[in-house]
Symmetry: C2
Subunit: 169 residues, 2 copies
Amino acid sequence: MSGTTEHSPEIGSFREAALSCPIPAVVELIGEKWAFLILRGAFNGLQHFEEFQGGLGIARNILSDRLGKLVAGGILERAPDPQDRRKVVYSLNEKGEDLLPVVVALRQWGERWGMGVPRVILADNRDKRAVRRICLLSHDGRPLDLHDLTWVDSDGEIDPVRLAVEQVG
Amino acid sequence: MSGTTEHSPEIGSFREAALSCPIPAVVELIGEKWAFLILRGAFNGLQHFEEFQGGLGIARNILSDRLGKLVAGGILERAPDPQDRRKVVYSLNEKGEDLLPVVVALRQWGERWGMGVPRVILADNRDKRAVRRICLLSHDGRPLDLHDLTWVDSDGEIDPVRLAVEQVG
DNA sequence: TCGTATAAGTTTCGATATGAAACTAATAAG
DNA sequence: CTTATTAGTTTCATATCGAAACTTATACGA
């Protein structure tokens, strides 16, 4: 523990770790009230500007800005509607659809902790049975919680400093 | 389709569904840049005000506000540090720790889509092997994607209108 | 084909949120 | 008993948000 002036060494390594962590960039793109609700709307089948606007109650200028950012970020695709060329279709592409576990995990967390009373349950189309609760699994399928985790270097070595500082990044 | 003045009936049922969906409330609490980054910091072992402030580069007044909201929301706990009573310890409680799948899913998504180059891998402490990619599973463990999903009423009936409109909520 | 409606924005402008910096109160350390 | 540290709060300039009016392109109906 060398005597730095500003911060403890733990914060230093936290900041260093943050540079390689994708979460800040992700949060910049979708970690914002409307961006996330637009995404949820898209998963719900909303497609047109007016649908998002009316459905979410978002201001038109903000919606315009957010849709632009989600398109620029490669999450939504913007295409003219072939049936009616006044309309524009916004749809999830692969990168957007890949956010499904995030959206569902957040919904399940909200359900579990009593934020709203859900009246419908997300189910498998095949057998109409509820989906499993999303959780973290080991390579062989055991459920893991925070205290079962560690960090491993790309070369397979374990770095004990990071282990302490960067529990989950 | 009856001639409503404002919106198509699909948007109406979307809004109705939104009332029972926990996601808006969840987003209100943690769907915001700093709230989410504070949470990530907490998972990383940050505990004190100055650690969050220095580690995240957040303004002190905003940090103060967000920590207060996370505590009020039951995600973080605030306790005086018994070792040094100038300090305050902020720690995740059960409700907060239960957000682990959300944080990890978001990180994995960012990794998969090239937002930052991760240098460490999240692994199971027991065998030091990387954790599985988080995904949605059916009750019997088959991976599901967006198009395998449907909605089911609490009484087991399937509502076809909702099935179309509320794919994921 | 002319008038009207609709879709997807953009503009404007007042209200709200953010952030940097200085300030404060309580506790610790020398 | 003086100085440093911790966790805030206050202040004020700036940036973002949001409601409402406006714009442009396309469709629709008589």
